[in-house]
């Protein structure tokens, strides 16, 4: 067991000598003169007190001082260092041995008590540190706390946490305090088996003064805490990654089953109609042939829409919506779409109300056309033939709000958020094929990519109103 190295405290030694001088003076003036035994005991008492309060060095000096004072002032012949009687010599020697031993024992007891207290303090501090950072996963919060705690517990001027970056180079993640010129640095490694994950670097307190064993141990414990924090952060990010992969897998499965079902149905109809026309030995009338041919054409359009939807969805998922944006007139975009869908829209009366002074919006024309197309397809699918569909728009501050409304069965309140999720399908109007569940999710993806928002509102009188809002800022002077 080593005693804690303490800087030479001159004051302690002066104090010890002063105490011995004081007690000697006091004892000299006591009348009648004290017994040798009493004197010895008093000196030992002083040595003991010094050992308990000041330390080993001064108390040993006091012991030697007491031995000399005892000899000089109280043992005949007085005022000399000679000793005549052998029992006096024995008494003096005994005193010295006892005094020095007492010093040693008392000082050691004190040291031990101090060491235990320090260990308890450190354990407490480490416990508090681990409590405060165990809830945290963010390395940017944890590592500075560790650096600060290290400086505080070890009373060091500076501590830095060094980590390895993606290329394997060491960089300083955070620093507490400072590293003075002329002060050496000491390191504790954050290890994971044989791999080093990072380094805890500290500055020495004073030039040439290193850390004792206890302090070294504490430094390594702090490095271990830092390593635990790194581990935790890594595990959390791995868990998040795994979750993202699981979600992506789920979507892929849903996509595959959607594709399988949605593409096969129109294909089946096409195959059926075409093979019917090709049946040997049957002469179909012109009307029948016409109907079958129209069926094939209609289903081919249906297939085309599904393929478009799947492509759009996969692009949105990949974050690859190339937003080539230009200023567009919603009336133009809608007009082109209505022309494209003319034949399909014959089953429903369409009412369009777009004010002539609607501002231009920064948008990708094809994508906004897709939003209108999907909303109209929805209206066609979910409302019976003949029910009106209305499209209107208005300016709202620095935005344009568009409403596509129908008078179908509507969407119940609890499903109004859900309808925009991928693969969500409702119940189509009687006799109509169902959709792929992607149309509204695509609308949401496109509208949000434009910085807008889309939602569902109930319509007084039944049916739904799909409302989307697109930003329409003032074009800058040079753009005008």
């Amino acid at each position: 067991m080593e005693y804690r190295r303490r800087p030479m405290a001159i004051q302690g030694y002066i104090g010890a000598l002063a105490a011995m001088v004081a007690i000697t003076v006091v004892m000299s003036f006591i009348d009648p003169p004290l017994d040798h035994a009493d004197i010895m005991l008093l000196y030992v008492l002083v040595v003991f007190v010094l050992a308990m309060t000041v330390g080993l060095g001064p108390s040993v000096v006091a012991s030697v001082g007491g031995f000399l004072a005892f000899n000089f002032f109280f043992v005949p012949p007085l005022y000399t260092f000679h000793v005549h009687r052998s029992q006096d010599a024995l008494r003096l020697l005994t005193f010295l041995v006892v005094a020095v031993s007492t010093s040693g024992l008392a000082a050691r007891a004190r040291s031990q008590a101090e060491a235990v207290q320090r260990a308890a303090d450190r354990t407490q501090a480490l416990y508090e540190l681990s409590q405060s950072i165990s809830a945290q996963v963010d390395l940017d919060r944890i590592l500075p706390v560790i650096a600060e705690t290290t400086c505080r517990l070890l009373r060091l001027p500076g501590c830095a946490v060094l980590l390895y970056d993606a290329e394997g180079r060491l960089y300083e993640h955070c620093l507490f305090g400072h590293f003075g010129v002329g002060l050496r640095t000491m390191h504790a490694f954050m290890r994971d088996g044989a791999t080093v994950l990072g380094v805890l670097r500290v500055s020495e307190r004073q030039s040439g003064v290193g850390l004792d064993d206890d302090e070294q141990q504490l430094l390594h414990m702090l490095a271990a805490q830092a390593r635990l924090a790194l581990d935790r952060a890594r595990l959390v990010s791995q868990a998040a990654h795994a979750q993202a992969l699981a979600e992506s897998d789920r979507l892929k499965s849903a996509l595959i089953s959607s594709v399988s079902h949605d593409l096969r149905t129109p294909l089946a109809v096409i195959k059926g109609a075409a093979s019917t026309l090709l049946v040997d030995g049957v002469m179909w009338g012109e009307e029948t042939q016409r109907v079958l041919a129209q069926t094939i054409e209609g289903e081919a359009d249906h297939l085309n829409r599904i393929v478009c939807n799947l492509l759009d969805m996969s692009r949105i998922e990949a974050g690859a919506l190339r937003l080539e944006v230009d200023w567009h007139d919603l009336a133009e975009v809608l007009g082109a779409l209505l022309r494209r869908m003319e034949r399909r829209l014959q089953t429903h009366p369409i009412a369009v109300a777009l004010p002539a002074d609607l501002p231009l919006i920064p948008a990708n024309a094809m994508l906004i056309e897709q939003v209108f197309a999907n909303l109209l397809e929805n209206a066609l699918m979910y409302t019976p033939d003949g029910t009106p569909i209305s499209i209107s728009a208005r300016q709202d501050g620095a935005a344009v709000v568009v409403v596509v409304a129908d008078e179908g069965p509507g969407i119940p309140a609890e499903q109004r958020e859900q309808v925009f999720t991928k693969f969500y399908r409702g119940t189509t109007a009687a006799g109509k094929p169902s959709g792929s569940g992607l149309g509204l999710a695509i609308c949401k993806g496109i509208v949000e990519a434009h910085g807008g928002r889309i939602w569902v509102e109930p319509r007084s009188g039944g049916g739904v109103a799909f409302v989307f809002r697109l930003p329409a800022p003032e074009p800058s002077q040079e753009e005008k």
Partner: protein, 229 residues
């Protein structure tokens, strides 16, 4: 114009067969080519009146074929493309194609485009002094425009724009083409200006962009004046 010669270029045998059958059924004479190299050979040797050209070809791309043929011939070229390839369509039109069709398309659309292309082939509408579209009359000699019975006052730029569109009735004209022709090549990218003038023209002709009578929007590509049927 039956009897006209049409060269169909597509690497998919099913598409070639389908178009051949359909177009022959309407009285056209058809030759086919399976790639760009054969397309150029047949264009040179057979001298078609219209070329229907798929842009996605192996070996030589459709755009390169277009460029090559345009070097020595002004035969009308209609390109076939897919929905999301806007840039490709615009490039083809800039390189000299006359119109485009997006797959999948119906035969009726293709026939309409072919009719327009044949009409605008060299020596087509240029000779007519007055263009008539339903209730719209454009007198090219006196620079007068009458719509729904009343005279319409157009600024010189608006008139030039209308004349250009109407002279190519039925054909798509890219933004860049219109801007170059009327404002000069420095303004090739100024689609804002074009949109403003188209808007003004539409208003003066009482042409609702939602259900247009005359000026049709080809989103992302340009504008098309509605053809006389």
């Amino acid at each position: 114009m039956s009897g006209a010669r049409i060269l169909v270029v597509d690497d998919e045998p099913a598409i070639r067969r389908l178009l051949q059958t359909g177009l022959m059924g309407h009285g056209y004479a058809i030759e086919t080519a399976i790639d760009g190299v054969e397309a150029i050979e047949k264009a040179t040797a057979w001298r078609p009146d219209v070329i229907v050209l798929d842009l996605a070809l192996p070996r030589l791309s459709g755009i390169d074929v277009c460029r090559a043929i345009r070097a020595w011939s002004s035969v009308p070229i209609i390109v076939l493309s897919v929905q999301d390839a806007e840039q490709e369509k615009i490039r083809a039109l800039d390189v000299g194609a006359d119109d485009y069709l997006t797959k999948p398309f119906g035969l009726g659309e293709l026939l309409a485009r072919i009719r327009v292309a044949l009409r605008h082939a060299v020596g087509g509408t240029q000779a007519m002094p007055v263009l008539v579209f339903d209730t719209l009359q454009i007198d090219l000699v006196y620079r007068q425009v009458v719509c729904d019975g009343t005279e319409v006052h157009l600024t010189p730029t608006e008139y030039d724009l209308l004349k250009l569109l109407a002279s190519h009735a039925g054909k798509v004209l890219t933004h860049a083409f219109l801007l170059r022709a009327i404002w000069g090549s420095a303004y090739e990218r100024d689609t804002q200006t074009l949109r403003v003038f188209i808007g003004q023209l539409r208003r003066k002709l009482h042409d609702d962009p939602i259900s247009p009578r005359f000026i049709l929007t080809e989103p992302g590509v340009g504008y098309r004046f509605r053809a006389l049927v």
